[in-house]
Symmetry: C2
């Protein structure tokens, strides 16, 4: 049997907490026999669930950080919140990873401040696996750092390569820079600067990736600042959502197309699963001392399960140690 | 009958020129009886076509600017190119608008330098109509200005409002700022600055628009810098393309789903048309003295037709005069 892996889970995170979180933890425990969970939240939620599940331990946290709260202030003020308490379990070595579908901002702040950054990492970055056509692509940063320096972008690329190698098993990840043209001289002054630095310093750099190629799977890792990355990610999600709605409208528009939809429903369900953000269930935060995964606020139980299992894979891939090694070897990035 | 409108058309623009351009012009002339075309290109292309079409006049241009050429250098060097010659027809009042599906960069440079900017306009911007779920949305800038100042963004918003009012018939356009959160304090330092300026100076400003809302149609106009706008536009196109491929794969994956696709084919064709970039057929360049429309390089005849007809609508809406008026009233934007 595999080594046990302990993940701290925020029972209060997400729009449908705690019920979908509990369902997700239940499914994750069934799917992964070596998983152990520290479930953080109010006693009345975590105690009965832990009672009923062998590999789940209750960790009482009396406060909840709400979605609308100012992240840094909330983390500072609510020391007994499920997010802060969960991060402390990782800091103290009781859990190896932390998962929450709660406030992304609060998770970023708490992970960075309470678990701590890996030595040499300038800015932790939030990644997301895009279900691109040919193969999954890791896009980062998708929102942790709205304003970036080019040195951050280089580190994002190094951390992204470490992720694809150690967690996704891609031997030679190809890195692209999100830009508005293929040639090195294309794009904003910042993008041109980044191109130069990546060209000089990153052996796996494979050139610019235009917005249109992001979902084709031409690259294993695509790096950009957190502003552009968040716009691109949300645009992909919004476009998929719009097309799925239009597809539904199209199927409902006539009797023959309704029958067509019935006949094709198996294949269409597979398509829906393929493009669903629930398949990976969470955004890894790269650059913290330990594993931290942030789930979508609208996560269902399946997304929660997959987010927790992604955490297990990251622990098994020793993601934080691999990143620490890559960053320490590249002292030059700190210049 | 309506007043005649003359559009100069680049016969050499696009990946499938000249044939699809000629087919597109033919279709546009049939669809719009008041349209007159000045067809710019090599004599052997433009002469026989004009011979066969009453409302088409040949304008010989011996050179072609290729897709890969450096825009500014090509425009400077190839004075007898179809793009430069077409722009001169607008400058000299022979045509009221110019359409090309050729090099976007060369069209931008030639339109800006040869036709000229409207007085007070700091930077012309490239717009695109996104076929969003509820209603079409004008996104700008989608690539003319990779680096922007916040004063440009305000002017983009003013020009966008003028476009939606005069060309699309939207009485009170709502303007959104592309950003990574809804609150005024969200986003990069630049986005926060833009928010403040739009809030202070643009009565139709309605707040931040996240990437996910871009395709929902919650706003009539969405403004951003040309880097972010181009990434967002290409991401929408790429995501649609990927989903359409996956949908095709899903339909081909089993016998029942193949039959389902056959039954639903009418509704699916309508869906495809609804999300196709060909429906509008071109990106208006806002801020030049006259009308200039840039088509997609991969335009088919239908896209060319629609691009030319969009030009006709812009001429009839007196777009350039409306923009000139808005900009001259707002002297403050030059501060």
């Amino acid at each position: 049997m595999s080594e046990p892996v302990t993940i701290a889970v925020d029972a209060c995170g997400g729009d449908f907490a705690p019920q979908v979180v509990l369902d997700g933890v239940d499914a994750a425990l069934s799917a992964e026999p070596a998983l152990e969970v520290c479930l953080c939240g109010p006693e009345e939620v975590v105690a009965p669930f832990s009672e009923a599940h062998d590999r789940c331990r209750p960790v009482v946290a009396q406060q909840v950080i709400e979605m609308g709260e100012h992240p840094a202030e909330a983390v500072k003020a609510k020391r007994d919140s499920s997010i802060v308490v969960g991060c402390h379990l990782v800091r103290d070595g009781i859990a190896q990873g932390f998962f929450s579908a709660g406030s992304t901002g609060a998770c970023l702040v708490a992970s960075t401040l309470e678990i701590g950054r890996i030595k040499g990492v300038k800015r932790p970055a939030l990644g997301i696996i895009i279900p691109a056509y040919k193969q999954p692509t890791l896009l980062l940063d998708v929102g942790a750092n709205a304003d970036c320096k080019r040195e951050y972008i280089l580190q994002f690329a190094q951390m992204g390569v470490a992720y694809m190698r150690s967690v996704m098993g891609v031997e030679d990840p190809r890195v692209g820079l999100l830009n508005i043209g293929e040639e090195p001289t294309k794009g904003s002054a910042f993008a041109q600067d980044c191109y130069q630095l990546l060209q000089d310093r990153l052996p796996s750099f494979a050139g610019n990736c235009e917005g249109g190629n992001l979902t084709q799977g031409d690259f294993d890792v695509v790096v950009t600042d957190g502003f552009t990355g968040n716009v691109a990610l949300k645009t992909i999600e919004g476009t998929s959502k719009m097309l799925m709605k239009l597809l539904k409208d199209a199927f409902m528009s006539s009797v023959p197309s309704k029958m067509g939809a019935l006949l094709a429903q198996g294949s269409l369900a597979q398509l829906k699963e393929k493009v669903s953000p629930d398949t990976y269930g969470g955004s890894p935060l790269l650059g913290v001392k330990g594993i931290s995964i942030v789930g979508h606020g609208s996560s269902n139980a399946n997304a929660i399960k997959n987010g927790i299992l992604t955490g297990v894979r990251e622990v098994r891939g020793h993601l934080d140690e691999v990143i620490a090694e890559v960053i320490s070897q590249d002292g030059g990035a700190s210049r």
